[in-house]
């Protein structure tokens, strides 16, 4: 079982609130999303960037940097949402092939042969109240909106909600007994 690395949150609550407000959110909370990171670099070289992905993501995120920035102190509060198993190496290679086709400048960079590392990506969730409730996810590293993570986050929130309801139900049952 691999240890899951927690990345340092670089966007504090004030900055995240500001950014989410600009995007129309009226409430926010911190979250951690469990993803898989694979190094990208020249063949037999060290990584220069990381492909951040999960099995059911259509397109991966690209994080530039030689190392994943680890969190030194204890992780702060926030719901943890896991994305499940890592993508297979074939799927990763194919994912990166299409990324390179779309950005030919990256053609020489390859997926390094190390296995994907699990990690917690810090994020901020923003809630927009309108005719319908809407969700915005921004990165806790850069503040960029991450719409492609929405299916993972929604599924995670639904599971967490289900768990809370089940726990409340069993508590109620225990009390009634």
């Amino acid at each position: 079982m691999l240890d899951r690395l927690t990345l340092a949150r670089r966007i504090d609550e004030g900055t995240a609130s500001q950014q989410l407000k600009r995007l129309g959110a009226s409430a926010c909370e911190p979250a951690w999303i469990g993803l898989w990171a694979t190094g990208l670099g020249l063949p037999h070289g060290s990584p220069g960037a990381w492909l951040l992905c999960a099995q059911n993501m259509q397109r991966a995120l690209l994080m530039v940097g030689a190392e994943l920035p680890p969190l030194v102190e204890k992780p702060d509060a926030g719901i943890k949402l896991d994305s499940g198993l890592p993508p297979t190496s074939e799927a990763l290679n194919r994912l990166w092939l299409w990324e390179r086709m779309a950005t030919p400048r990256h053609w020489r960079m390859q997926v390094l042969s190390t296995p994907p590392k699990p990690f917690w990506l810090p994020c901020w969730l923003g809630y927009i109240r309108g005719r319908q409730q809407r969700l915005i996810i921004i990165s806790g590293l850069s503040g960029e909106p991450l719409p492609m993570l929405k299916p993972i986050v929604l599924e995670g929130l639904q599971q967490a909600h289900q768990k809370e309801q089940n726990a409340a139900l069993s508590e109620q049952r225990r009390n009634s007994l």
């Binding site: 407000k21 129309g24 259509q58 779309a102 991450l146 929405k150």
Partner: protein, 542 residues
């Protein structure tokens, strides 16, 4: 009248070599892999936006728009007056959906929504249309080369085709954003210098231009005629041109490619905003040069060249000081190369992703796909070259490019709109709509005397209505098929989850949304431009 001197030739070759060196130095040879990825990320948004503009149409604009203005004055500006409105639709509707869907080619969205047949047909339409338009893009620098050297255009087309194809196959340099930005400024300065030299060569200077423009009706940009056969009426520009540009910027892979590769939706919006604000003033600048050239030709009793695309390059070569002409012509070349590289890349990417890797070799190696993409580049380069031989007969290149798009993109846009807005439509309807939309455009162009600007409107209207009606004859799409175009959080149980979480989350208050502010800004810009044209026209007719 110095002509294209040896010094100009040295500047031209030096400029091209410098751009190629910068491209190979900064685009390919970074030793540190981190620098490699950071390449485009430390560059400000405005530079990225300008680079997108440079790739889109700079050389075509430089060559085609003055001829357009020479022929018809500012009336043709209505073709572009709608661009801010088109950008609003892209920013609000298409870009968020494309970005969220995580797709490489936009035609993938149609497969998920309607099935593989719709994807294949729409990608095929794109390849045919963009391949033809690339022929016009290839013709533009070939014409400049012919003007400079005095060689036949057919020969210069072949030379430019060999250069463009080999350069794209070798990797291209369009990835270097700063070189695109430099090219953009070189062309703008070239335009401004042309105005300066032209106006100072007229005895009455500006007053001659204004008098000529006013008496010949060249400042009449707004024609309120409801007659659909009037090509450049305001209504044709607003209704027809609007769909033309939504379709061009939203459903053409070569245009939307950079948007799909942007790190975030906000970045993608930013690059569209630059086009939304700058395309009208840029077009106004070049059309105005056409008006000044018309004044110049009239005052000097000159006969214009048969091909009006030659007007500005000829003037630059004959009137600019030695060296400066070389620089501007080099800027045109480099910008055309950047456009060609981008177009050929997107054609080969769609060929490999939407056809080759799906139907011919689904599980080949990276090296195999790279080779296939190079072969595809050569194929599309040859296809474009064949068409480039006919491009000289199509009139101003800027109109030719837009006309070609108008034959194909309306039906394509209709299919995307059907996918997004009609949750009842399905694959059968989409295919029927796409084919009917195309046929309707061809029928209207061939049988009716209607402005070509309406082609896209006809394509959209027919493909949406036929698509919807035919969809009713087959079952509604499944929930999974609608997942890309529906708000994922719209399901009632999800709404309850989000409401519960929002109640317990930290309240941050509300602020005007940045997207809304951006769209209001674009709309205000559109109104301002329209008002300015109306004022100019009012003054000219007073």
């Amino acid at each position: 009248m110095e002509g294209f001197t040896l010094f100009d030739t040295i500047v031209l070759i030096g400029y091209i070599c410098l751009i190629a060196w910068i491209g190979s130095r900064f685009g390919k040879d970074q030793q540190n892999p981190e620098d490699y990825f950071l390449g485009g990320r430390k560059i400000p948004g405005w530079a990225i936006g300008l680079s997108v503009m440079a790739t889109q149409a700079s050389a075509i604009t430089f060559i085609g728009a003055p001829g357009w203005g020479f022929e018809g004055g500012l009336e043709r500006l209505v073709t572009f007056i709608n661009v801010p409105l088109a950008m609003i639709v892209l920013i609000l509707v298409l870009v968020p959906i494309f970005h969220r869907a995580g797709i490489y080619s936009i035609y993938e969205l149609l497969e998920r929504r309607f099935g593989p047949a719709t994807r294949t047909l729409s990608a095929l339409l794109f390849l045919v249309a963009r391949g033809l338009a690339t022929g016009v893009v290839l013709y533009a620098p070939a014409l400049v080369l012919a003007v400079v050297t005095g060689w036949s255009v057919n020969l210069t087309i072949i030379i430019m085709a060999v250069l463009a194809i080999s350069y794209t196959v070798m990797g291209g340099i369009s990835a270097v954003i700063w070189t695109d930005v430099v090219q953009m400024f070189v062309l703008w300065f070239g335009a401004l210098f042309s105005i300066f030299f032209l106006v100072t060569s007229l005895p009455g200077g500006w007053s001659d231009v204004m008098d000529f423009g006013a008496t010949t009706g060249m400042f009449n940009a707004i024609d309120l005629s409801f007659d659909p056969s009037v090509t450049y009426s305001l209504w044709a520009g607003l209704l027809g041109g609007f769909f033309l540009h939504v379709a061009y910027f939203g459903t053409d892979q070569s245009q939307i490619q950079r948007v799909l590769s942007s790190p975030s939706v906000m970045d993608a919006q930013r690059s569209l905003l630059i086009g939304g604000y700058l395309l009208i003033p840029q077009m106004l600048l070049f059309l105005f040069i056409g008006v000044i050239l018309a004044t110049y030709y009239q005052q000097h009793g000159l006969t214009p060249p048969e091909d009006l695309n030659e007007l500005l390059p000829r003037y630059v070569v004959s009137a600019f000081p030695s060296g400066m002409a070389g620089l501007v012509i080099a800027g045109v070349f480099a910008a055309a190369m950047s456009s060609l590289d981008s177009a050929l890349n997107s054609l080969s990417a769609v060929t490999v992703r939407d056809f080759y890797s799906r139907y011919i070799k689904p599980n080949a190696s990276d090296a195999h796909y790279l080779k296939a993409s190079r072969m595809a580049t050569i194929f599309w380069g040859l296809y474009a070259t064949l068409f480039a031989f006919f491009a000289g007969n199509l009139g101003p290149v800027i109109e030719a490019v837009n006309q070609i798009g108008s034959w194909f993109y309306g039906a394509l846009l209709g299919t995307f709109l059907l996918a997004i807005f009609s949750h009842r439509s399905n694959g059968r309807g989409a295919i029927a709509g796409l084919i009917a939309g195309m046929l309707a455009v061809w029928a209207v162009s061939a049988l009716l005397d209607v402005s070509w600007l309406y082609n896209n409107t006809v394509g959209v209207a027919v493909s949406v209505s036929v698509g919807y009606l035919v969809s009713l004859s087959a079952p509604a799409p499944s929930h999974a098929q609608l997942s890309d175009v529906m708000m994922a959080e719209a399901a009632p149980d999800m709404q309850a989850v989000l409401a519960a979480r929002a109640d317990n989350a930290h309240i941050i208050g509300k602020e005007a949304r940045v997207t809304r502010r951006r769209c209001i800004g674009l709309f205000a810009w559109f109104c301002l431009m329209l008002a300015m044209l109306a004022l100019l026209q009012g003054w000219a007719n007073a």
